[in-house]
């Protein structure tokens, strides 16, 4: 074959990119696909579900205080001690928890990965300076930061996102920097430097794609962690406020009524556990899909 015919034949080969391949592999991973579908359904449900219920999340049904789940009363998941419909409250709680989990994780992902990769790759003084800033932020007590924000800006759910995101990216930056340090002495990075590839392109093409495995795993650990942190803040009265709620807050309330009204714990806990479970499977699948060696 002459080089023209090979070139022509090669024209027909479909293009291949890391993300397209990852998507193809991910589609073959049944657990990951099922998890993604469940997370998707959950998201849709918490957004539109409350419209189909005849109760509001803060409405007290005086005739049905603390009743078991039943179709007859229309309280699918029963009611709490104040007679509020648990089904609607679980979905509202899901809105807050999923939003906190995803937004705070995205913040920590974007800031953490770029910060860590830049610090690790540039190294030297810049690295020292950037990591000392991280150390100083680490030294700030988390609770203190949250209380400070509350005092200055008043109580607001957005502040929770900011506070959690502001703390979580520190871990991500440290992990990413460590990985970058070991990657930057790999021969393929040196080869790119020797070719004169610009720094930003090296970060984008060589460093970040090779960090994805670690990052994917860490993200799946972060989402549950963030959801739990939010419920802890709510418990202290710093997070969402009654009558608004979150999964964490519902679980806490349910645990107190475990003996008299177990459904108060079972339903929100099941939603929370199911979500965390699915994120873990999805993250695992993502890591495998992003590694060409596993194909």
């Amino acid at each position: 074959m002459s080089s023209e015919t090979v070139a022509a034949a090669v024209e027909d080969l479909p293009g291949r990119s890391l993300w397209m391949d990852a998507w193809r592999v991910l589609k073959r991973n049944r657990a990951a696909v099922v998890s993604a579908v469940i997370i998707g359904c959950m998201a849709v449900l918490v957004v539109i579900g409350p419209w189909f219920s005849s109760y509001r999340y803060d409405f007290t049904d005086w005739s049905n205080l603390s009743i078991e789940p039943s179709l007859a009363t229309g309280h699918l998941f029963g009611t709490d001690t104040l007679g509020r419909d648990l089904f609607v409250r679980t979905l509202y709680g899901g809105r807050i928890s999923l939003m906190v989990g995803i937004v705070a994780t995205l913040v920590s992902l974007i800031i953490g990965v770029s910060y860590g990769a830049i610090a690790g790759y540039l190294g030297g003084r810049i690295d020292h300076l950037m990591m000392r800033i991280v150390d100083i932020l680490y030294a700030l007590p988390f609770m203190f930061l949250v209380i400070l924000l509350m005092v200055f800006f008043g109580r607001n759910i957005v502040l929770i996102f900011v506070a959690i995101g502001a703390i979580n990216w520190l871990d991500m930056a440290r992990i990413v920097r460590g990985q970058t340090l070991s990657l930057k002495h790999k021969e393929f990075v040196e080869a790119a430097q020797a070719q004169g590839v610009p720094t930003f392109a090296i970060l984008r093409r060589h460093i970040v794609p090779n960090l994805l495995g670690v990052v994917a795993v860490y993200v799946t650990l972060t989402i549950p962690q963030v959801i739990l942190v939010e419920s802890f803040l709510s418990f202290l009265g710093l997070g969402v406020q009654e009558p608004m709620t979150s999964w964490g807050a519902l679980v806490k309330d349910g645990a107190e009524e475990l003996e008299s009204a177990p459904w108060l714990l079972i339903f929100p806990a099941a939603f929370l556990a199911m979500t965390l479970f699915c994120f873990n499977f999805l993250g695992d699948g993502m890591r495998d899909a992003l590694d060409p060696k596993d194909r």
Partner: protein
């Protein structure tokens, strides 16, 4: 009667991709006191066949057949019995002494444990036995060394400790799996010498597994050649070397680059046809013109942290004043032991590490004086090929993207189809099919990966390629192909090459001129022929005489100039001449004065007594 008799040995591995038949119907025997060599390329099953005898296969491996040691079938012994046999009757030495020694225990702890595990002796008695054994493997100050940790010893020293530990219980069979592969040639020569002596003294039978035909030529009596899990050829070492019967053995012997070859094929520019090849002509013409690359007095030092936040910093002079020139179309070989600074020099030339002194000029322009865009542009003339073929390719990029990347950077005006055409052309030029664009590096073998690396270096059609140990990670037959490819490309494109390697035979094969480095400095620069035929510097001589020659008769008759001791730490090099601590000709003057590189005969040599040494030859 044979000591060990293996019949119809089969080793199979269950893997997710199906069963792998690693060793197929292997039969051999081992006589008392003899040294048996098993050679083969990676994946030939040479290690697995022996590991299976002592029950050290991986968990998914199965072995069947018979392996008789004094009437007992080793393959059917229960683990308890087998453990007793390992150590007392059969002991092993592995490739990497660092991983075989526990870093948290002192040498004494590890060795005494071996003795006391198998025999009832007091700690004192065990310790004195260990000390005697260390002395037997020629470790100086054995008593003191016993209380050291493994990382405090050099690589050669660690391998001696391993040998000592394996001989402690006076085993009948010693299995050495690539015992010298991780070591430098000068240390390899010491270790081989030691093994030869010890097997006579302790009357141990040895099975030596290696890929290096030179090593077996020197110390083995009989030889098995394996390929693809099958026994290809076996017999007396001289018969196998001089009258090989099988095609594979012949090919293997032919692929080994030889240090003693009178005129290696097409090496000094004369083809089989007698015509002067293009590269030699270019090199000759280039020598008269302006040199392509001029490196002058380059120094590179790293500041090493001594520990702690405010710990003192010490300077490690990795390269200490090296100068060289490369003419267009010429190949300059750089050889030296590990830690001599040859790779750091390459990185300095590539401007990947900052120079602390000196200059690098490419095409008459000092690279340090260029601003960033100009330097980037200049980089297209200067490319690099690395040692580890897989590690030098980004695992998350397709081959097409990897080879296209230099074009994206340097010729952004090209459209997709043009880039594709260029990439396909260059892939075909390095001997690939050109259809690999959409595959990932791990789908290829080591040799193919190295070809992809070469394609990436070649796609911009540079004037100079620096090859940093490009073939050391490859099997012998693949090595020969890659070297041939590089030489062909040099002819076609008029490329200049800097070929860095620790393997002197390969360097002889490819280079026009050779530079020898020791502890960060050049000790000799000469034409390939002068350097190998009339080495002048004592270090060059020792280096050349340490390289094993794949020829049993020659190898055994050779008059060696072995080096003693190990490479001094580059953190504090000896005063005066750096080589004096290991030099047999060292005198008082060497301690005080550092010799400069000067012209002696036709070579440049850094030795005070070069003339005397040359005259004495």
């Amino acid at each position: 009667m044979s000591l060990l008799k293996v019949e119809n040995l089969n080793v199979r591995f269950d893997t997710p991709d199906g069963e792998i038949h690693a060793v197929k119907n292997l039969s051999f025997s081992l006589e008392r006191g003899e040294t048996l060599g098993i050679v083969g390329e990676s994946g030939s099953g040479k290690s697995q066949s022996v590991l299976s005898l002592v029950g050290l296969l991986a968990a998914n491996g199965r072995a069947d057949g018979r392996a008789e040691l004094e009437g007992r079938n080793l393959l059917q012994l229960p683990e308890r019995e087998l453990r007793k046999i390992r150590g007392e009757r059969i002991s092993m030495i592995f490739q990497d002494p660092m991983t075989s020694l526990n870093p948290y225990l002192t040498i004494a702890d590890q060795m005494i444990q071996v003795v006391r595990e198998h025999e009832k002796v007091s700690k004192q008695a065990a310790r004195s036995r260990c000390r005697d054994m260390l002395t037997a493997v020629r470790i100086p100050e054995a008593n003191d060394r016993l209380d050291r940790y493994p990382h405090e010893l050099s690589g050669g020293m660690r391998q001696r400790v391993m040998i000592a530990a394996s001989l402690l219980l006076n085993p009948e069979i010693l299995i050495a799996d690539e015992p010298t592969t991780a070591l430098d040639v000068t240390v390899q020569a010491q270790i081989l010498d030691l093994m030869r002596e010890l097997s006579e003294r302790f009357e141990t039978s040895t099975i030596l597994i290696t890929h290096d035909l030179g090593v077996v030529a020197g110390i083995c009596e009989r030889l098995l050649v394996m390929h693809d899990g099958e026994l290809v050829e076996h017999g007396d070492v001289r018969t196998v070397f001089y009258e090989p019967q099988q095609a594979y053995t012949k090919a293997l012997l032919k692929a080994v680059p030889r240090l003693d070859a009178q005129r290696p094929d097409r090496l000094i520019g004369i083809d089989a046809s007698g015509a002067v090849s293009k590269s030699a002509a270019a090199a000759a013409a280039g020598a008269r013109e302006m040199p392509l690359l001029e490196v002058d007095g380059v120094k590179v030092s790293f500041r090493i942290h001594a520990g702690g936040l405010w710990g003192a910093r010490r300077e490690l002079k990795a390269v200490d004043g090296v100068g060289l020139t490369v003419a267009p179309g010429e190949t300059l070989g750089i050889v030296g032991e590990s830690g001599c600074g040859k790779s750091t020099l390459a990185r300095a030339i590539l401007q990947l590490v900052p120079l602390s002194a000196g200059s690098v000029c490419l095409l008459g322009q000092s690279l340090a004086a260029l601003d960033k865009p100009a330097l980037r542009k200049m980089r297209s003339e200067l490319q690099v090929i690395f040692q580890d073929p897989l590690a030098s390719l980004n695992p998350r990029m397709t081959v097409g993207d990897i080879v296209s990347e230099p074009l994206w950077t340097h010729q952004p005006e090209l459209d997709k189809a043009q880039i594709r055409r260029r990439v396909v052309d260059v892939l075909r030029r390095v001997g690939l099919a050109g259809r690999e664009l959409n595959r990932y590096p791990h789908e290829f073998s080591g040799g193919q990966c190295q070809r992809i690396g070469i394609a990436r270096a070649l796609v911009l059609e540079p004037k100079l390629i620096i090859c940093d140990e490009p073939v050391s990670a490859l099997d012998v037959s693949i090595q020969a192909q890659i070297v041939k490819l590089l030489m062909d490309l040099q002819d076609d494109f008029g490329l200049a090459l800097i070929f860095i390697a620790h393997d002197l035979a390969v360097v002889r094969h490819i280079s026009h001129r050779v530079m020898v480095m020791y502890l960060g400095a050049a000790v000799e620069i000469a034409s390939q022929q002068d350097l190998y035929d009339r080495p002048t510097h004592p270090y060059t001589r020792a280096l050349i005489s340490s390289v094993p020659i794949p020829d049993p008769d020659k190898e055994r008759r050779r008059d060696r100039e072995l080096l003693s001791g190990d490479l001094p730490s580059p953190m504090d090099p000896p005063s005066g001449c750096r080589f004096r601590t290991r030099c047999r000709y060292a005198r008082e003057r060497c301690r005080q004065e550092q010799p400069e590189l000067r012209l002696v005969g036709r070579s440049q040599v850094a030795c005070h007594f070069a003339e005397e040494l040359l005259a004495a030859q």
